[in-house]
């Protein structure tokens, strides 16, 4: 297993996760901005509490967003929110991938280190 999963493979995987996440998020944001302009006729930024990203926690916010989008009903603000969610999930996914990698190659040292990072991030995203 160790030979099959070399560190080069981890580096490549991380690289693909990062580039895909950033490109997907920027693409969604562009669609969201265009959608916002076509529906409201302007591009004004409103600093009202209803326009802030807020939920019980990040994962429930993301879950609700995906659910509403899959049902086909969305507002431009939700599309913009989706772009931010994809962006924030990008480094999170690369940590999950690293945890899986170090558990597969049985490197307990780095499994613990990456697991620590994952637990702290998850706790913070869950607003614990």
């Amino acid at each position: 297993m160790k030979r099959v999963l070399s560190e080069e493979k981890l580096d490549s995987l991380i690289s693909y996760i990062l580039i895909f996440g950033v490109l997907a998020s920027v693409a969604v944001e562009i669609v969201g901005i265009a959608d916002y302009h076509s529906s409201s006729g302007n591009l004004n930024i409103l600093f009202q509490h209803s326009f802030a990203m807020k939920g019980t926690n990040f994962f429930s916010y993301a879950g609700e967003l995906f659910q509403e989008l899959s049902m086909g009903s969305w507002s431009p603000m939700q599309v913009l929110g989706l772009g931010i969610v994809v962006l924030m999930l990008t480094p999170y996914v690369r940590v999950v991938a690293s945890v899986l990698y170090f558990s597969l190659v049985r490197n307990p040292k780095y499994l613990l280190i990456t697991l620590f990072v994952l637990i702290v991030l998850t706790a913070s995203l869950l607003q614990l």
Partner: protein
């Protein structure tokens, strides 16, 4: 949003050219236009994930980034970022202007003679750094040779990165110059590895900070979205022409921008008292 988008392209472009990063430029500019500084910091934190991850991707693939060292140091920066962002959520905005101006001074570390020099020679690795497998190698295109290196002082470098993370989370910036200084002066990391590893760490540190701002209700999608698109495009453009510009011009640009940003944040701080 259109103005934020256009300004972000310029900020991302200049941030990439000077090494300051888009966030350090965007926050003072947004403050000038009357955007509450805490909203600007929160949006910048999300933006940094995009610029950092975008540029980190290629360096990781080319194996210049030391991923293992990054994993170790991230343990400290994320904790620091969470503490820093929590402080920002509670303190009065006027303090943030002064902290921001003060921290911008650390950008000058990037110009220090200690940094960007030759490869560290005869590094005697301590036991802890060796146990953490903090070593590596990469192909140096400029020198046309394979470079291998060993790092030291991991025990001291970790807690120092906690401070870097705290400043990043608190001020919504990457704190790249500060991180690079720790890598090079304490861990004895080669310059190229240092810059790229710092870039890699900045993304995860920014996520930790952004998670706190999400919970505090300071994150506005209408501001963060155009900033993320603009700075990413700007940084991409900046990265493409950086090698074509003379070093002296880049340094002058850096000095003018840093001085202007410090003056702007001090002015905002003084007028908000």
């Amino acid at each position: 949003m259109l103005s934020v988008l256009i300004i972000s392209v310029f900020a991302g472009f200049l941030g990439s050219l000077t090494g300051l990063g888009g966030g350090s430029i965007m926050i003072p500019v947004l403050a000038t236009f009357g955007v509450p500084v805490k909203y600007a910091i929160a949006a910048s934190m999300v933006t940094i994930i995009a610029t950092s991850s975008g540029s980190a991707a290629s360096y990781v693939k080319e194996r210049i980034t030391n991923v293992k060292t990054a994993f170790y140091l991230e343990m400290f920066t994320i904790v620091g970022a969470i503490i820093g962002a929590t402080i920002t959520s509670f303190i009065a905005p006027r303090f943030l202007y002064f902290f921001f101006a003060g921290f911008l001074l650390t950008s000058f570390l990037g110009l220090s003679g200690h940094l960007r020099g030759e490869l560290p020679k005869r590094v005697k690795q301590d036991r802890f750094s060796k146990w953490l497998e903090l070593d590596g190698g990469y192909y140096d295109e400029a020198a046309k040779k394979e470079v291998s290196y060993k790092l030291k002082n991991a025990l001291l470098g970790g807690p120092c990165m906690l401070i870097a993370g705290l400043a990043a989370g608190m001020l919504g910036i990457g704190a790249g110059a500060f991180k690079v200084s720790i890598h090079e002066l304490i861990l004895k990391m080669p310059s190229k590895v240092s810059t790229t590893t710092s870039n890699f760490i900045i993304g995860i540190t920014a996520l930790a900070g952004a998670s706190v701002y999400f919970g505090s209700g300071l994150l506005f999608v209408g501001l963060a979205a155009p900033m993320a698109v603009g700075t990413t495009v700007g940084a991409l453009m900046g990265g493409r022409i950086l090698n074509r510009l003379p070093n002296r011009l880049v340094r002058y640009l850096f000095l003018v921008i840093v001085v202007a940003l410090i003056a702007q944040m001090l002015y905002q701080g003084i007028t908000s008292i």
